[in-house]
């Protein structure tokens, strides 16, 4: 099996109007190289599903989004993603705003091939009024409790960044938190993985090493080697988020037509020119991982 692909060949498999899930959490472990390749393409009308970070803002700024389904959209140290905020306040972005846990439950329902999951989360809150298509069910047992029937969130594709992968689609993800990457993978028809490091095989004689394996290779459609591909977000064990770059990005959102010059300066070329434009690989590898 050889699932190796290029950024371009992955984007060539995506279609206008698709629902695309993105792994990671806010400004952490986002498959940004693949997001940048989408920004360079003519894809449009995408529905993005994410615990959102800069990918949601960038795709929105570039006019790629029909809709965003999210648990939040934040850069953490900049609490509200700047282009997401702009699109929301201008009323130009259709959204499905979810409780963080509901996004998890919706992805799990999709991965388990059931139409919904019954949950107490969301009932009584604005999640119901802001998502008028959400329905409740009544417990068939003696309690008779009314619960939200959280619909499955089925993805056409999931984009996930990992630490190490081989061409068969075996992956390892290092760092303190697996976030919800495996649930994005299970909810998707196709999973495209970008990896810091592509190796011949991740095979190990130490079972402990495999605790970093989050999902099965049969879920993985393609693997792309993208060293530093999570920049400007944190890649645990490798580099932290790029505060200075994210601040410059946020500042561009406050300028009239600020996106285009930002795009031209950093993204319009290719990944090599991107990395040069943000200070080079050596610089990125020195970016500290923040503590809280």
């Amino acid at each position: 099996m050889n699932k190796e692909m290029s950024l371009k060949s992955v984007v060539a498999e995506l279609r206008d109007g698709m629902t695309i899930g993105v792994g990671g959490w806010g400004p952490r472990r986002k498959p940004m190289a693949l997001i940048r390749e989408i920004l360079r393409s003519d894809l449009k009308d995408l529905t993005i599903v994410a615990y959102g970070g800069p990918e949601v803002g960038m795709l929105s700024a570039a006019g790629k989004l029909a809709k965003a389904t999210y648990g939040f959209v934040s850069l953490d140290f900049i609490p509200i993603e700047p282009y997401f905020r702009k699109a929301r306040q201008e009323g130009t972005l259709d959204v499905c705003e979810l409780d963080e846990g509901l996004l998890y439950l919706g992805l799990r329902a999709a991965g388990h091939c059931v139409p919904f999951v019954a949950t107490r989360v969301g009932v009584g809150s604005a999640v119901m009024s802001n998502n008028p298509d959400f329905k409740t069910v009544t417990s068939p047992y003696a309690d008779g409790e009314e619960l939200l029937a959280m619909p499955a969130i089925k993805l056409d594709a999931a984009l996930i960044h990992v630490s190490r992968a081989d061409r068969a689609g075996n992956t390892l993800t290092f760092g303190p938190d697996p976030y919800f990457d495996e649930f994005f993978a299970r909810a998707a028809d196709k999973v495209y993985v970008t990896t810091e490091e592509l190796v011949d095989t991740i095979a190990s004689e130490d079972p402990e090493d495999l605790k970093a394996n989050l999902f099965e290779p049969y879920l993985v459609t393609g693997v792309v080697e993208t060293p530093l591909g999570a920049h400007p977000t944190t890649m645990h064990a490798s580099y932290g988020w790029d505060e200075a770059h994210l601040k410059a990005y946020a500042a561009s959102a406050n300028e009239e037509n600020g996106w285009q010059p930002f795009f031209d300066k950093h993204i319009a070329g290719d990944e090599q020119s991107y990395l040069e434009s943000v200070g080079g690989g050596e610089h990125i590898r020195t970016l500290p991982i923040p503590t809280f």
Binding site: G91, G101, V121, V123, E146
Partner: protein, 267 residues
């Protein structure tokens, strides 16, 4: 236990807010933001040793991790608390969080999502509902509000109901009696709860130099006086020393504007 000679309002608030977790026993204690996090740390270090705290990211630690730059300090991890496990904790009810909403109403409903009447085009986009809907119907929640005013404790209903409160006509059919559990609401003026008749708000203690009328004048809904309403207790010297240990860089001094003293000077 000697009362500290000199303390700030932020320190008074940390000590008052720690009381939110009293009696909780063993559960995940989460304080979001510097003062709530110092408060839950103080609670663990003094009267609730069974509280489980995190390093602010994905691990449990028995020793509260100091806030701010770590320097040479290395957290000693005792367990995992990655986000899927956080949800397992939330939904089991074995958690008590203290959060800082932007709007709170007379029903104890809270908003951090967005401001304005039209959710499709908010006047101000804030954080989104984040985990508030699930938290509010799964476990106990307390709040810290640094600016007690009619803009935060509003007259009408919050613009976006992120946290469910005691507006029972919005509750689902056959919801359990304890569907919503609100603990202490700690502000820069007082400590109150929603345990008055029909879950009305009632003041438990006033910070030194603050009058009940001042609290009422800055609240958009009626406040009651709890039986035995008192003055918020001053920190002891021992409590100040423990707060210093978990806040070595004095982050707490930057939370409230001008870092006011704990005892308000006479006007």
């Amino acid at each position: 236990m000697t009362t500290a000679q000199d303390f700030t309002l932020a320190e008074l608030i940390v000590v008052a807010a720690a009381e939110a977790w009293r009696g909780d026993g063993e559960l995940l204690g989460t304080g979001i933001g510097p003062l709530p996090r110092l408060a839950v740390s103080l609670a663990k270090m003094t009267f609730e040793p069974g509280l489980q705290l995190t390093d602010g990211e994905a691990f449990l630690t028995e020793e509260p991790v100091p806030i701010g730059p770590r320097g040479d300090y290395k957290p000693k991890y005792t367990g995992r608390m990655h986000y899927t496990r956080v949800f397992d904790s939330v939904w089991s009810g074995r958690r008590h969080a203290m959060v800082t909403p932007v709007q709170v109403d007379r029903w104890g409903q809270a908003n951090i999502s967005a401001l304005g009447p039209d959710f499709k085009k908010p006047k101000v986009q804030m954080l989104g509902v984040r985990g508030f809907p699930g938290n509010s119907v799964s476990h106990k929640n307390s709040m810290f509000l640094p600016n007690h005013s009619k803009r935060t404790f509003i007259e009408g209903e919050v613009d976006v109901v992120a946290s469910v409160g005691f507006k029972k006509d919005t509750w689902p059919a056959n919801a359990p009696e304890d569907f919503v559990k609100l603990g202490l609401i700690v502000t820069n003026l007082c400590v109150f709860d929603f345990n008055g008749p029909d879950h009305a708000a009632r003041v438990l203690s006033l910070h030194p130099g603050v009058s009940f009328d001042e609290v009422q004048d800055n609240t958009g809904f009626p406040m009651l006086k709890a039986d035995g309403m008192t003055e918020t207790a001053a920190p002891t010297q021992e409590q100040i020393e423990l707060i210093n240990r978990v806040d070595p860089h004095n982050v707490r001094a930057k939370v409230l504007r001008d870092n006011p003293p704990g005892i308000r000077p006479a006007a």
